[in-house]
Every structure is written in structure tokens, then in C-alpha cells.
Symmetry: C2
Subunit: 305 residues, 2 copies
């Protein structure tokens, strides 16, 4: 069974509040390590409904300095402090967000027992900005009205699985198992060569998720997100508001779908809906005409990769 | 019929978020002029449910620089800008909040078409900080861990009502009506003196509302709030957590009730409940033992004075 890799939608609205949507926030749960992407107002309140553990958040990735993506951050940081967090928290984002984070900390919670470590990102570069043993996070330069970057979270390749029963059958000693995992054949004491393919089953495929909001369509994105399992792409407007989208550096649902198609991703999730749409099925229909495997994000949604 | 004077509860929880309560925020609607008191996270989302008009907010009164009272402010200010506000907005609060308001404006909405005018209040003084033709707002120094003031909103006395039918009966001319309103008797051309009491009915009683959060019990409060119609007083803890209340400069429900009793107010509304109480009926019971006319605040509640 593959390791856990889930995306929880906390909020998928845009700048104006509605009765239906919260501003942008998601949680990526990868092997029980929780990463927050963006943190719009109300995120900590909606978080309560997920049942996820506050203290398992290790990293927060912010896309850009617009209120609907960061006004929930102070409350989130404050609550973690009140709940007794001591582990350092890493916040990644375009450098113009550093002043904000530092100002809020200095003014509202100078005495909390945990460190906030801000990692300034150059939003114009596509590069690996964080990695651990099992995964990598890459920045995805987006085209918005100010420095803005999306994030690509992908697993590192793993080794093939050994077939326990074959290891036992050939009596392969423990010291040799890692070699088999790494691809070597096994030679029995009698000189018989057992090919690696009989001793292992293939490694789990590498999974990847990309979060792209806010942005107008950008060609490189398809290259960077090629073949990934899930693409979350903003679809603020319908085709009828294309000029509006262009003016404010946003995308229409069809444009989001065109990127998904060009990137040949497995699944597209659209969000960051403008408050003008009471019912987003119009956006869904427009996107599906271009990329059939499209879904509407909604608060409380949980997607397993 | 008296003029409109209503209090809408937007949030009445305390620092830690719960599934039930939002942090502190209220709207006072006095003759269709809306004033916000405190602005905790999520206030603009809950505001949507009140059906009140964003553009009718003229003043915001902030009590102190704790996140659960002010983290919803940036979103609120931002949304008013996006909705096209042009009228200046007055924000009153202890002076250490001025930097916060100015920082947020400069970083997140420098281009909005309305002015934010911050009025720094000396939280240690009980004084009239704002008045218009029909009402006054007074600061109420509170005892908290940092400069903090509550607010007393009271109507100005009005003139008696003239009795239309008596004015007509005596043929009192228009120029004399204001004199009658001001208390003068009327002398008919025949020399008959008609006493003022026959020409008027008494003025509406002056109504007043006080918002007191966050604070530990303070004696002067009873003096300043004597006989008012409605007192909102924080009741963060039950009697069992009295030490906790003292340590963090908060009140228990009984202490809030004792203040209401000493001030001889008509009605007490308690709020700012600690997240530890799943069910606040314990707080209500404790308060009612001291001051029977006590009510629990709740989100969406609307009280007419």
C-alpha cells in the first residue's frame, strides 16, 4: 500500500468573502507530515473541522502577498503558540512576505516558545526549495500582479519492494537484501543466478502534486508539471470574463484546463472562484470541454493521490 | 417608536478557536449608523450573514492589541476597499494599535480609495472620545495585560415630543413650537397660560450600551455603567478557574455578574468564553445566581435596546 499523500482543501474562494467559500488554504499530508499552502482568513477555524493535529505542521508555503492568501496566518501562528508548540516552524514564501511575518510575530506573539524561520524564495526561479528523505518541494514561478510562486510537491523515487517469500525461499541473508533492493541479482551457494525481477516487485510510482494560484496562463507550467497526478490551478473566472481575468492576472476555467491538457496531468482540480459565481458548475463545464478529468474544489474536500 | 439601537454579536469566543465561537466582534447599529467593536478573525465572513450594509460602517472601536480582537481587521478593511468604499473610516483604539493598522494598509492595500483615520485613545482615561448629534462614545479603562479599553455608547438626551393635536387645538404657530419643545408654557392671545405638560409628552429615555472585554473585575466600571440598558462583560472562566482568570487578567462569570449588580444595569450579556467550555450553561448559572437578568451571547444574536 502506498504511503499517505493527501490534499485537504481548507478554502478555495478568492478575495471577496462569500457564504460558501473561504479564501485560499490547503493542507498537504504526506506520510503524516503536514504542510500548509497559503493561509487565508478563517483557515484556523476551518482547520478544526479536519481533525488534523496542529503540531504536525512542519512547513508553511505562501504563494504571494495578497490578503486572501495570508490574512489567516497570524491567527494560525498564534494558536500554535497557545497550544504549546516548541518545534520550529518553517515558512517559505516570496521575500516581500518576510516583513509581514516578522512584524506580526514582534507585535502579537514575541514570547511564544517556538521559532519561526522564514525562508525567502526567489519567485522568478523554478528550483528545489526544500527536500527531505522522501520528497521535494519545487517553486513554480507564476504570472500575477506581484511576485508569486506555486509549489510542486513530489515524492523521491523509492527502491523496488522485495518479495519476502522469495527471499525466504532462497535463504538470502539480511546483509544482501539492500543489494537486491538496489537491483542486483542473487547468486545461490550452488552458483544459480536468480534474476532480480524474480526477487522484487517494482517500486511505487512517484507521485506529485502542484498548487498554482494566483496566475494567468503561463506556458512553462505545463513543462514543470508534466504527467503529475494532481494539478490544482486557479480558475477565478468563466470564459465570459476573460478580459477581467487578463486585467487582474488571473485565469479562466478553460485556460486552467488547457494547462492541464498541455501538461498531460492525471487530474485537474480548479479553485479560487470569483465571488460572482453562485454556482460554479459553469466553470466546471467550461473546463471539462478542454480537459474532461476536471473537478471543482470545495471546503472540506480531501483528495488522495 | 424609539430610534434603532441594536447590538449584533459577530463573535463571542476567546483566543483559541472552537467549532462554535468566533473571536470577538460586534456591530452596534444606532439609527442605521454602524459601528464595529473589535474585529477578530473571521468577522467579515460572519458579517455576510447579518445582511448589514458594509458601506454603513463609519467607525471601528478596538479594545486592545490581542490577536483575537484584531486579526479580522485587515480582511474587513480590504473587503470594504474591494467593494468600492470612498468614505473615510475612523478607527479608534489604544495607541499601540496604530502601527498595526498603518503597517497593514501600507503593505496590503496602499491604493484603496478611502482614508483610514486612526484615533489613538488613552486607555487609562474615562472620557468622551466621539460624539455626533445623537450619541456619545466614552472610553472605559479596563484592567488587562496591556492597555485595554471598553466602550460606552449612549444616546444624547432628546427633547420632549410635542402633542400634535394640542398644538393644533391652541393654534400654536410654527415659530413657537421649538420653545414648547424646550419646556416653555404657551400663553394664548386671550392670556390663558397652557402648562407645558399639556402640550408635550416626555422625551424618550436615554439608552446606553457598554462593551467591556477583556478585563479582570474593576470597581470603577460599576460607576461608569450605572443604570445602563445593556452591559456586555467578558466571562472567560467559571468560578472553578478563578485563579486562572486572575493570572490572565480575565473575569469569571460571577465577577461579571457582580459588576452588573453593582452598576444596577438592566441586562447583562456575557461572552468571551474560554474554549474549554463545551457548554456555557455553567457560566450562565453562576452569573444568574448573582445577577438574574443575565444572558449568554452567541454568534448571530441580535439585541434591541
Amino acid at each position: 500500500m502506498p504511503q499517505k499523500f493527501e490534499v485537504h482543501i481548507i478554502g478555495c474562494g478568492s478575495a471577496l468573502p462569500t457564504r460558501k467559500h473561504l479564501p485560499s488554504c490547503q493542507v498537504v499530508d504526506i506520510r503524516d507530515k503536514l504542510m500548509l499552502i497559503d493561509c487565508g482568513e478563517g483557515a484556523q477555524l476551518e482547520w478544526r473541522k479536519t481533525g488534523l493535529n496542529w503540531q504536525k505542521i512542519t512547513h508553511i508555503f505562501l504563494t504571494h502577498a495578497h490578503g486572501d492568501h495570508v490574512f489567516g496566518l497570524p491567527g494560525f501562528l498564534s494558536t500554535m503558540g497557545l497550544l504549546g508548540r516548541t518545534a520550529p516552524l518553517y515558512i517559505h514564501g516570496p521575500s516581500n512576505l518576510q516583513t509581514y511575518v516578522e512584524f506580526m510575530k514582534a507585535h502579537f506573539f514575541p514570547d511564544f516558545d517556538y521559532d519561526i524561520r522564514f525562508h525567502a524564495i526567489d519567485a522568478s526561479l523554478h528550483q528545489c526549495i526544500y527536500e527531505d528523505r522522501s520528497m521535494e518541494v519545487w517553486s513554480l514561478p507564476l504570472k500575477h500582479r506581484l511576485p508569486c510562486c506555486g509549489y510542486l510537491i513530489k515524492e523521491k523515487p523509492t527502491l523496488p519492494h522485495i518479495r519476502r517469500e522469495m527471499i525466504d525461499f532462497y535463504g538470502i541473508p539480511t546483509w544482501a537484501i539492500n543489494r537486491v533492493k538496489a537491483g542486483e541479482d542473487w547468486t545461490t551457494p550452488e552458483g544459480e543466478v536468480v534474476p532480480n525481477s524474480r526477487l522484487t516487485t517494482p517500486a511505487d510510482p512517484v507521485r506529485a502534486y502542484a498548487y498554482c494560484s494566483d496566475t494567468m496562463p503561463t506556458e512553462e507550467l505545463a513543462e514543470w508539471c508534466r504527467g503529475i497526478d494532481l494539478l490544482y490551478h486557479e480558475a477565478t473566472y468563466a470564459e465570459g470574463e476573460k478580459q477581467q481575468a487578463e486585467r487582474y492576472f488571473h485565469s479562466t476555467a478553460s485556460q486552467a484546463a488547457a494547462t492541464a491538457q498541455a501538461a498531460d496531468v492525471r487530474k485537474l482540480l480548479i479553485g479560487h472562484f470569483s465571488a460572482r459565481y453562485e454556482d460554479e458548475s459553469l466553470l466546471l463545464e467550461e473546463a471539462k470541454k478542454v480537459f474532461p478529468n476536471t473537478y471543482l474544489a470545495s471546503e472540506g474536500m480531501q483528495v488522495t493521490l
